[in-house]
């Protein structure tokens, strides 16, 4: 249904009759051509909502190109913001309200099935009578295609209104959109203005003022023309909260851990960690080194770690592949090192700007030779902060490589979380420069634990050469037959020791039942929400979420034994067992599934998708139903 609202004279507004929707959760998205500012608009709206006490989860809609041709449906750019009364842990199912800067980007979202059947769409209408007849035809075709839907499409003369206020309305139209959203959702306008001033603090006052002008125009237009409002009550909390995205949280967490050197090479979606560090790291005595390539970034980080405080390197899938040989060297020399891999779609260049969890097996087994090391995956943006402190401590204590597997969903999602209560004890101590006691060797492995004391250059009496060659306790090149066996055992033993210090994962829901879902990484919120819905519907389903992938958390076999069926939910590829040629023997399963089957000998099944987007709780809910005995009770 298309509602073409009559244009009203500015001096004679007919304020429409208002209807307010009360809801505990609502999802809005802003989409435009790249460069028109829909992402900025969405980020500002999400931040304002978080600051007003709503739960928030944002997801970027982002093409790979910086400035692809205009009105290209495949290049839609924007932001999707789900807000709620309580904490929001995932992006939800489908969108309730859309602001679209042209009909082509709207069609992209429509064809993806991203929108609720009854979604409200605020659509820029300058294209309807555009001077280019082809564009007019495209507009008519799009609206014709949408006429069969139940969307409520409201045409908005964004460009026309803005053109009366500023010379070039393509700059700043996003602030008009923000104004409309502020009015619809009853946002605190002072707070919005403050956030605009903060976001554009490096720009001139003239630009900030222009943004205010457009914001006000959007508020005024919505107030005068829209007959609905949405009220998502916020829950006030005494707890002090911060709001940021996962890459910012990783950057801040790294600082909180006391690490002082990061080496990287630009790669999407990891780069923004370094953007954030680039702005502030120096104040903390930190250096971010942009290396000539991914390999060098790993080498600089490893060299720095070798000589003192633990350093880290930041990358995404293709960069992880390139760093492989250095990672093996880190394991062999037992030099602590932290690697952050913000996963994207693969293989090869894959989906550079989109989410996938396909690097787990490469992260674990990608280094030739046996190279045991630690892998941790944060499940929330809050965990992105804290994981860096844990990673640094484990790297140091166990003289090992620790990989942190984040992903695009965490990297670009914005979410409020309890403000970390910083502790100086989280930071690395200054490198030990005291003399090494006589007779102590650089790899004096404790034969039970494999642990040994690290010697740091500058320590008198500790001189030795670390080497990637097989070596003995004195770091001497191995020329006898048992040394390699012993060294391999000692490096491997450390993981078993670490595993003994971990606690069994918590089961969300009943401790036993028909179905157990197992997840890792950013899918936690969507899985939790789906399981809660299913349990509310009386279904016997529980879930658990792993943070440690290497070593795996203890107790899994025992937990799995209490459920009739266990399956992983992941964002990586697995064969559909119904497809031709696929048998139980040759089926390629989800990446965590491989590990769980190998380690527990349980018949773990999986449901995985590689759609380049986060999982929807609704889809997981359907999976739960389909995998319960006889589909469970209706």
């Amino acid at each position: 249904m298309t509602t073409r609202l009559p244009m009203l004279e500015p001096d004679a507004p007919q304020v429409p009759e208002l209807e307010t929707l009360e809801t505990s959760s609502h999802t809005v998205e802003v989409v435009s051509d790249p460069g028109e500012g829909a992402q900025r608009c969405g980020q500002l709206f999400g931040t304002v909502c978080a600051k007003m006490g709503n739960g928030v989860w944002t997801v970027e809609i982002i093409p790979s190109e910086v400035q692809p041709p205009p009105r290209d449906p495949n290049a839609a750019s924007g932001n999707r913001i789900r807000i709620g009364s309580g904490p929001i842990s995932n992006w939800g199912d489908r969108t309730n309200l859309v602001v679209a800067f042209n009909e082509q980007v709207l069609m992209y979202r429509h064809r993806l099935g991203a929108l609720e059947d009854d979604a409200v769409i605020l659509l820029e209408n300058r294209w309807a009578d555009h001077q280019d007849e082809d564009i007019q035809a495209e507009w008519r075709a799009a609206l014709e295609e949408l006429s069969g839907t139940n969307y409520r499409i409201i045409e908005v003369p964004m460009h026309e209104v803005c053109a009366k206020l500023v010379e070039d309305p393509t700059l700043g139209k996003n602030m008009f959109a923000l104004g409309m959203l502020a009015e619809i959702y009853g946002r605190d306008v002072d707070l919005v203005r403050k956030q605009i001033a903060f976001t554009f603090q490096k720009k001139s006052q003239a630009i900030i003022d222009r943004n205010y002008l457009m914001l006000d125009a959007g508020i005024d237009w919505a107030r005068d023309h829209l007959d609905f409002r949405v009220h998502v009550p916020s829950v006030t909390t005494d707890e002090s909260m911060v709001v940021m995205n996962g890459n910012q949280a990783i950057a801040m967490g790294a600082i909180a851990s006391g690490m002082e050197l990061a080496a990287m090479y630009p790669i999407t979606p990891a780069s923004s960690v370094s953007h954030h560090l680039g702005g502030i790291f120096q104040r903390f005595g930190g250096i971010i080194h942009q290396a000539e390539d991914e390999i060098a970034a790993a080498g600089v980080a490893l060299g720095a770690s070798y000589s003192g405080k633990v350093a880290f390197t930041i990358t995404s899938g293709p960069g992880l592949a390139l760093k492989t040989e250095f990672l093996g060297l880190a394991v062999m020399t037992e030099i602590p090192l932290v690697l952050v891999n913000v996963q994207r779609g693969g293989p090869s260049t894959g989906l550079p700007t989109k989410i996938e969890q396909s690097d787990l097996l490469a992260a674990m087994f990608g280094q030739p030779g046996d190279a045991p090391h630690v892998i941790i995956a944060p499940a929330t943006i809050e965990e992105c902060f804290h994981v860096m402190i844990t990673a640094r401590q484990i790297a140091e204590t166990f003289r090992t490589l620790v990989m942190v597997l984040s992903d695009t969903n965490l990297a670009t999602g914005v979410q409020p979380f309890p403000r970390p209560q910083l502790d100086v004890a989280w930071q690395a101590p200054s490198p030990d420069q005291s003399p090494i006691p006589e007779n102590l060797r650089p790899y004096d492995w404790d034969p039970r634990t494999g642990l040994s004391r690290r010697f740091i250059p500058g320590q008198p009496g500790g001189m030795h050469t670390v080497t990637g060659l097989a070596h003995d306790e004195g770091s001497k090149v191995a020329y006898t037959s048992e040394i390699n066996q012993r060294g391999s055992a000692m490096r491997s033993r450390k993981l078993a020791v670490l595993q003994h210090s971990l606690v069994a994962p918590t089961v969300n829901g009943d401790e036993s039942g028909d179905l157990l879902l197992v997840g890792w990484g950013s899918t936690k919120g969507a899985i939790d929400e789906a399981v809660e819905r299913a349990r509310d519907a009386g279904l016997s389903v529980s879930n658990l979420h792993l943070r440690f992938l290497s070593p795996l958390e203890p107790g899994l076999k025992e937990i799995f034994g209490r459920f009739k069926k266990v399956m992983t939910i992941e964002i990586n590829y697995s064969d559909d067992p119904e497809m031709p040629y696929i048998t139980d023997e040759n089926r390629r399963r989800g990446q965590l599934t491989w590990l769980l089957r190998a380690q527990t000998l349980c018949d773990v099944d999986c449901w995985t998708r590689v759609l380049g987007e986060p999982l929807r709780p609704g889809a997981i809910y359907d999976v739960i139903r389909a995998n319960l005995p006889e589909g469970g009770p209706e």
Binding site: L261, G303, L422, Q427
Partner: protein, 316 residues
């Protein structure tokens, strides 16, 4: 130099005297007659002469015959991976400017698999000595063509003779932005080798030294008759470069070359009719990367305070 030495003196290190034996590590396992032995001895002599505390000195290497070098020293050492000694060394020095850092690479290491790092290390200009021990062949993997192997030279990978003309590492280095110290020397002229290492060590910046090095096992005929015939060697001499009186009677072909003259250095380096050794270029005025990136350190408590300010910006 050096900044490191003067700092150490403040720390009371001046009362420790080191001799060559203080730097001797495991017994070298290079072939008899290998030029690496000569470089090792010169290096141990340099460290003793400069009285560098072994624990304040790090040798970083890649993979290959020459990269075993750190094992034969008794300083700290990092025997890394093929071609990647320079990033490791950059990390060490960036994190610990107080350490003396030496890098030992072969021609496969530096000019082939690690060529990208080599170019960028020159540009970073980190204060370290980078030695290219150039025997113009892959020795450890048994006589494969390297990027510096002369055209037509028969190897196991190119038995018909090397197809391509070699890269001249000195010419390449002199062409990179921020080249700071570029020298060429030969392991069979120990006095010259030592003087070159000393100048490289004392230079505040990235000191690139190509050491012409014989491999008696696979390429005894490299460098023409230069190892035996002094007339095939030309010394580049200058009061700001290397000028060793004791070599004058044997090496009659001496040319004055001012190491501050980059254009002349490039012309000389390109001319390959003779083995030319000496300091081709030196510019101590370029800032080093670790100076450019120097940050003032903060205590743990200060960091917490600043991070709390940052968190305030994200507070709800």
């Amino acid at each position: 130099m050096s900044t490191a030495c003067s700092l150490l003196q403040v720390a009371g290190e001046h009362d420790r005297e080191f001799s060559m034996s203080d730097y001797e590590g495991a017994r070298a396992r290079w072939c008899s007659g290998c030029g690496d032995h000569s470089v090792l001895a010169s290096m141990q002599r340099l460290l003793a002469d400069e009285n560098l505390p072994p624990e304040q000195t790090v040798f970083v290497s890649g993979i290959g015959c020459s990269s075993r070098f750190p094992h034969y020293m008794s300083t700290y050492g990092f025997h890394g991976i093929h071609g990647r000694a320079l990033p490791l060394a950059t990390g060490v020095k960036l994190n610990r400017p107080d350490l003396n850092v030496f890098v030992v690479m072969g021609d496969g290491d530096c000019v082939s698999i690690g060529a990208g790092h080599w170019i960028h290390a020159i540009r970073y200009n980190v204060d370290m000595v980078a030695l290219l021990l150039d025997n113009q062949i892959y020795g450890m993997t048994k006589k494969q063509t390297s990027p510096t192997t002369p055209q037509g030279y028969v190897s196991n990978t190119q038995p018909q003779g090397s197809w391509l003309p070699p890269i001249n590492p000195v010419v390449a280095t002199l062409g990179i932005t921020n080249a700071s110290f570029v020298a060429q020397t030969a392991e069979w002229i120990p006095a010259h080798l030592f003087a070159t290492l000393q100048a490289a060590h004392r230079h505040p910046g990235f000191s690139f030294v190509r050491v012409l090095q014989r491999c008696p096992h696979f390429t005894p005929d490299m460098f023409g008759d230069a190892p035996k015939n002094p007339d095939s060697v030309q010394l580049l001499v200058h009061e700001d470069g290397i000028d060793i009186k004791a070599l004058e009677s044997r090496y009659e072909d001496r040319v004055r070359h001012d190491p501050s003259d980059l254009d002349a250095a490039r012309r000389i380096a390109q001319n390959e009719d003779k083995v030319r050794i000496g300091i081709l270029y030196r510019n101590a005025s370029l800032s080093t990367y670790e100076e450019t990136r120097r940050v003032s350190s903060q205590t743990a408590a200060e960091k917490v305070a600043i991070l709390n300010e940052e968190l305030d910006r994200h507070a709800i």
